[in-house]
Symmetry: C2
Subunit: 266 residues, 2 copies
């Protein structure tokens, strides 16, 4: 394999629904614990292995505790195994700490058949070479794992100038050249700064209560385009919606998180 993402989400079966994993520090939030989407990707790899279906068409995670770095284990319980789809719940544990609980349904998307109709177009944004790079080349946290090319306005919040629109648009790919795939999409949907920071609200820390990602199709080679949006902040609760499109103009993933702002004890 050799790519960072594959090494860092590697899992090994120990039989009977048990999988060994290893949480590295390479996907840590800039100031914080390992990224939730990274952890979910490792868990999904174990679930897909247990169910013998590689693609998570829908997966939901509840994050229960920050993940310590180091050895971890995934316990997978199959729920329903049908002809094409199979579902399972899974637990990620590190020592005695339960880090997250996930529930998902998996399939082999290369065998999907059915109608396609896209009523909206991919987000418009400048060509990657004209976008603003937010890379941290060789960086030791998650920012070093991706290349992003954003619209210029989407970086104004860093200077304390949110636009009030609540939306980012960016190209993304793995920094080490790894092709995007359906497991990679799970970390990509969670790799952006919260779009709520583009709103003029007194918000700093935004714990995620729940994340659900739908993977619609195996992405074509090349950059993916991402749109990250928050439309409704209600009494401190807000959604973060992400849509990801591939180089063939196909929607490949949608996700929604429910998060809290400002800091309250979740």
């Amino acid at each position: 394999m050799g790519y960072e993402f594959d090494e860092d989400t590697r899992v090994e079966s120990e039989g009977a629904g048990l999988w060994r994993a290893h949480v590295t520090s390479s996907w840590d939030a800039p100031v914080g614990p390992p990224n939730g989407g990274y952890l979910l990707a490792a868990v999904a790899r174990a679930m897909g292995g247990e169910l013998d279906r590689p693609d998570p068409v829908s997966i939901t995670a509840h994050f229960l505790a920050p993940a310590p770095h180091g050895p971890a284990r995934v316990e997978v319980e199959p729920l329903r195994v049908g002809g094409r789809h199979a579902s399972a719940v899974a637990t990620l544990r590190s020592g005695e700490t339960e880090v997250l609980r996930a529930m998902g349904v998996f399939t082999d998307l290369s065998r999907a058949n059915g109608p396609t109709l896209l009523l909206e177009n991919p987000p418009e944004l400048p060509a990657p070479e004209d976008g603003v790079s937010t890379d941290a080349e060789g960086g030791e946290d998650i920012r070093g794992r991706f290349e992003f090319r954003m619209r210029g306005r989407d970086t104004a919040w860093v200077r304390g100038e949110p636009t009030g629109v609540g939306e980012w648009r960016s190209w993304a790919r793995f920094a080490d050249g790894r092709p995007m795939d359906t497991l990679g999409l799970l970390v990509t949907v969670d790799a952006f700064a919260p779009a709520v920071f583009d709103l003029d609200l007194p918000i700093r820390w935004v714990p995620t209560l729940e994340l659900t990602a739908h993977v619609r199709r195996r992405p074509a080679p090349g950059w993916v385009r991402c749109r990250v949006r928050t439309r409704f902040v209600t009494d401190g609760y807000f959604e973060e919606d992400v849509e990801i499109w591939d180089a063939d103009d196909h929607l490949v993933a949608m996700s929604r998180q429910l998060a809290l702002a400002p800091r309250v004890d979740p």
Copy 2:
């Protein structure tokens, strides 16, 4: 209590995370098994009871088998119980059949505090008295439990004339006058015909793979306004997004389902 919804989602604790429930036929799909949102509401009532927090801010369900009518039981496993929020997983069983598995996080929304900012307005639609009634007064399935007042164009699909927009807009309330609340929203988000039927696609049966509902606020008294949308059908997979607004123009719920079209073995 006396209201249909409360009677039909009643649960009784048997201790140690076990709850008795009873699946009635009053919330059956027009031609089909009990409605998924109805089942989820009963499960959420047990989860909220076990966690001593009434409001499901996020709840996800995977539907595993059609629910038989009659006695059922809910097994609730708390995951994380914090100061304000508490999460759990739950199983609905009828005899030896596992009907659904749910995961959710609950709170007391009357104590929510934090900023509010709504970047989009409630959907525009004619006043309830000018809407098209799709009631089946006293009907024996779920259509008899609600009053809907839809835009006229949103009923054209029934005559074989889909608009191609993929969106319904409707007022809704319980037919027996029961006030809407956060558990009632869970059946309301699943009470509509699939908006994918408004697209010109050869689709008949649309099994749900997963449903996640976010409840944002306790609804004000009166009608709620609902927007039901499908934007992306990809190789037979599609999302159905529902937003519900209360009489005070506040967003009170958002939901998303991942469903399949046309019929394939899920």
